[in-house]
Symmetry: C2
Subunit: 362 residues, 2 copies
């Protein structure tokens, strides 16, 4: 039933459905569950140290012989900006006061490390079948080492210019990340969130511009969306939000409840990390954004929020929590990740069948 078999055959997977690597939400259990249904397993590595990555890979390998995608961030780490940190914390001072917190309070905040020589050596030893990058690509020497392992190299493009750049620099396939996608925009040449395009326009433009397989991401909530992506020329799709409510998902109970309630719309915000990302609109986004200038650099903008998030969550509130979600999140269900994947395949089959009434009606 799959019109483009290039990636399926290269990776030995049954269906062109790639689990999106979601830092903070995905882990070995989700990867194994998707692989068991014939999709591509993925592990987000940006928030893990070398030991954590190795442990997760061992867990996945023990659970499935199928292909595995390790995902890394490629941002250029910037020195923390003390004046901006101070200014951001000052803007947040009323929230600190409201929660009875000393404005100087510190709490553990999510860190995201870029791909470097250490993680490159890890890739060389762990030998994942796929290595994918977000926020561009690593330095040429590191990328050459990754390619030398034989891994298929993927990266996210949010514009035609980014897609062309990625192919020129050695990507084997490109992920067309429409603006509907949950979590961080992969933008690395583009700088303006206001001009980021949706999958419906971005995907065929990238398909026309590059010679490699293109993977559609963003706004795809069920099999109808997968069929649509195939119609637009995608060789495969990458879904994350569809798996956020699975038992294998590592999101907090509050995040899960907000997804299930399906009341809030989503918007792009840079308040939680310093880079634009899509999540459910909550109080912080309403009162301070959703986009703001002069934040501390990625990923350090989250530091000033960490004490607020912790205190608010203890009260059962998500006012200061990043509730990442793609635009189609209301289509997600409480099902395990194997069932989600199988349902997506069945729904895609049904959507394709509806499009083709057969010889009599053609």
């Amino acid at each position: 039933m799959w019109p483009d078999r290039r990636l399926i055959e290269r990776l030995g997977i049954e269906h062109p459905i790639l689990l999106a690597p979601m830092a903070g939400a995905g882990g070995p259990a989700m990867a194994i569950a998707v692989a068991r249904a014939g999709g591509l397993a993925a592990l987000p590595c940006a928030m893990l140290d070398a030991e954590g990555i190795a442990r997760d890979v061992v867990t996945v390998r023990a659970g499935t012989p199928a292909a595995l995608n390790l995902n890394f961030f490629c941002h250029t780490p910037q020195a923390d900006d003390a004046p901006r940190q101070r200014a951001w914390r000052e803007r947040l001072a009323p929230c600190y006061r409201e929660l009875g917190l000393d404005p100087a309070t510190e709490a553990a905040a999510a860190n995201r490390s870029p791909f470097d020589a250490t993680t490159c050596a890890l890739v060389e030893s762990l030998r994942p079948e796929v290595v994918s990058f977000h926020f561009g690509l690593p330095a040429a020497d590191l990328l050459a080492r990754v390619r030398a392992t034989g891994a298929l190299v993927l990266a996210s493009a949010t514009s035609v210019a980014e897609a062309r750049w990625l192919v020129r620099h050695g990507c084997d396939a490109v992920i067309a990340q429409g603006v509907e996608a949950g979590g961080h925009r992969g933008m690395f040449l583009e700088v303006d969130p206001a001009t980021q395009a949706g999958t419906l326009a971005l995907l065929p433009a990238i398909v026309d511009a590059v010679d490699v397989p293109v993977i559609a991401a963003g706004g795809i909530g069920d099999g109808r969306g997968i069929a649509a992506a195939l119609a637009l020329g995608a060789a495969a799709v990458q879904l994350g939000t569809a798996y956020l409510r699975t038992p294998e998902s590592l999101v907090s109970p509050l995040h899960r409840a907000a997804l299930a309630a399906a009341e809030a719309p989503t918007a792009l915000t840079n308040l939680f990390s310093g880079r634009p990302a899509r999540g459910l609109v909550n109080r912080l986004m309403r009162e301070y954004g959703p986009l703001s200038d002069d934040l501390p650099p990625f990923p350090t903008a989250g530091r000033a929020l960490a004490p607020l998030k912790q205190a608010a969550e203890a009260l059962g509130r998500t006012d200061f929590s990043s509730l990442w979600a793609g635009e189609a999140y209301a289509l997600a269900r409480d099902e395990d990740a194997t069932r989600v994947t199988r349902r997506l395949v069945d729904e895609t089959r049904a959507a394709l069948a509806r499009l083709t009434p057969g010889p009599a009606g053609a």
Copy 2:
């Protein structure tokens, strides 16, 4: 080849392709050309007086016996806001100076009138097969009179809540206007452009929420996009940007050249009218927005720009011109509107065929 024949049969058209009524860009010639290829003709009426509407309808009726859609705006006219007009003009003062203009200069600006008793009487006498509305619906008594003519009533929804409201208030079909669409957002319950969703997420959500046929609009640039919309459950599609470069298009030569250059991205902006609309990013949008608070109310924000637009265009510059375009505008071509429509049908057929490898490959 069309999976959903409800609208086709109701309207006696050959293909479920609706010409988007584009105020300032569409007119009788474009309507006739699309109808001749089997699509639904449309006339934008928001910028015409009763005489202009009647004249255009007579022209279309003389050119084709096919069904015709008359489109009206339904905004609530607001009194002009003198302090906001003054403030907006003051902000623009440096641009006036740069062009050597007296900041008190006035020039003719586009006006948009809402549907009212006069236009309702016109509809009763002209008897269009379809009447469509943007920015909500007219008052109940006027809508009842439109429905009594037997016209099919359409309106744009930018969210599930808006779609449900439209059906509850008497729409026969709903246009799901994804955020990719060019020109004005049809928002009437929604107020925040940051939470407007793309067609890929919006369309299936609306299809699931209402019992009437749903028409997809926004981000559809060619037959691949039409096939995608059908996969998502659309009964038909509405395209405007695909027709902007036809000889029948009334856009200015500068607008046409900017579309053909395909260099600028698009963004949502409210600077030109006071309401969010999508167009090519130009100098005004870069320097003053693309979105700004405290503008004069729709449609009067354009008044302070009119002298700037006129002076800049005389110099061959589009710095202050609204260059409406949808996100997929780069897929549009210099072809007449009949050929565009026929090509869209052929491309859709090809896209559907690629999705269905036939019995052997199924």
